[in-house]
Symmetry: C2
Subunit: 303 residues, 2 copies
């Protein structure tokens, strides 16, 4: 078991490096700064998108794609699209009228490094580019596959997904949400995009919807585990390590998994979810090693 | 000729009423308010999207679709998607950090009627929904068609289109743009989405790219004519009639078609562009009557 864990962490570290490099190279290429008055817009997008974050979502696309032995070029393109979507949401969530954050991924937020209007437009631009990159024939030769990717990403990022979850998160500061509502909030806010990332690997492999059920279960569980770990980190994390402001939920009097369950039960729950996530992968063999390693990683990052 | 003009204005008025009704009905249905904490988000989207504006873009989709005798149900769905994209851009452009507008389409802007965070998220949500509606099989049975629609809409709305144009527009307040740069700015800011609307009719009819050249010429010309008319209206229009604040460009010292060309030359140029736009349609017969009427309308609205 210790050998398995060690092997898992090698697989994870190697894949993480490869995906992070690949995503940066793709962003460099797809976000070339034009020599015209839009230069500032592209510089703002690059500031937020390049060399930042753990690239969890592209890593999940790659890991799910590995299950079905698909080419890594399409899975990297899909990874860049979902990461662009994630980065746009960070830029907008950091705005003064939203969470009003100064630091993100160890750098000044876009509205701090540039200005608010540029931040709004950089987010809007990455949002559109995510779909443009996804629907490009370079992503997959089959338009059915590309259409399904766009459909799922649009659902995961709109009002029935990420944007709806962020709206609930704003409401959480004044409403008194119970555990069920906080769970739903997080399933929309972060779970939907994590779910898309995992499912995208299966879509690229043309696995029909019923064959994706184990992956959906896996994604739902690691999505929640991820958010519980995030709430725990908000309470006991190190700001320098996290690269962003922490201890904000408590200050805002916001209901989180930690305030609702207590630190210990939250930690137990995260561990149980990781085991449950791994159990969904029981039908797979060695090809699921990366997905298993990621499940452990989501609750152990920054510890 | 007088008979033709009168017939044209009947065709236009009838189509406008039908499209406006259809778009409102579709929005009512697609933006049903959920009974959960996202209720405010949906109310904000409905505030901005329903019963507002002249629906020029959906009207253009319908008019271009009429050329090829396509069904009106798909063209209405595409119209709703492009209108959602347009409405999202208005919500974000009106934000305090952008143009800081209080009124839009005769109503308070979304950040005034709700709040800034809700306005950002309502825009983001409509942005995602535009793609979700477009890629839905209800729009067209052929995934090639849906994929091409998404590809073109993403291009038209991202940094190489609408969002890029808005960035240039912000820069215009401090830079001293010449006529060529202002033309490029407007081609991105408003021209790209107008171009998409016209081209979408041909895409729905599966007309190959080379067969769409007259339509592209038409769209480029009416797009510019539309913007020149807008600049003229900013100088001599009636705020109550326009439903928004006017005389803003001059106050901001911004280069526009009117400041660069003078009022008289700008008016002549708009008229010449409308004639040129109509000339692109010479190969079509009666089925282009609505497109011809729209070309005249874009420079005559609010007069």
């Amino acid at each position: 078991m210790d050998d398995d864990l060690a092997a898992g962490s090698c697989i994870l570290a190697d894949a993480q490096d490869e995906v992070a490099d690949g995503i940066d190279r793709l962003f460099e290429q797809l976000l070339t700064v034009p020599d015209d008055p839009r230069e500032r817009l592209y510089r703002a997008m690059r500031h937020a998108a390049i060399a930042g974050g753990k690239r969890l979502r592209p890593l999940l696309v790659r890991a799910a794609g590995d299950l079905f032995h698909i080419d890594r070029t399409p899975s990297l393109r899909v990874g860049a699209a979902v990461e662009a979507m994630h980065v746009y949401s960070l830029i907008h969530d950091d705005l003064p009228c939203m969470d009003d954050d100064d630091m993100r991924r160890g750098k000044p937020t876009v509205h701090r490094a540039f200005d608010e209007a540029t931040a709004v437009l950089a987010g809007d631009s990455l949002h559109a580019l995510a779909f443009e990159w996804l629907i490009d024939p370079a992503t997959h030769a089959d338009p059915f596959v590309r259409a399904e990717l766009v459909q799922e990403l649009a659902r995961a990022s709109g009002p029935a997904g990420m944007a709806g979850g962020q709206m609930m998160d704003l409401a959480a500061e004044t409403a008194n949400f119970d555990l069920r509502t906080v769970t739903r909030l997080q399933q929309l806010k972060t779970g939907a995009l994590i779910g898309f990332s995992v499912e995208a690997g299966a879509i690229l492999a043309r696995i029909p919807a019923e064959g994706r059920l184990p992956l959906r279960g896996y994604a739902r569980d690691i999505g929640l585990a991820f958010q519980i770990a995030d709430d725990i980190m908000d309470v006991e994390g190190d700001e320098a390590l996290a690269g962003k402001a922490l201890h904000k939920d408590d200050a805002a009097g916001k209901a989180t998994f930690v305030t609702l369950m207590g630190l210990e039960r939250a930690r137990d729950q995260a561990t149980a979810l990781v085991e449950q996530a791994t159990a969904h992968l029981a039908g797979f063999g060695e090809e699921a090693a990366l997905l298993r390693a990621i499940a452990r990683y989501v609750v152990e990052r920054d510890r």
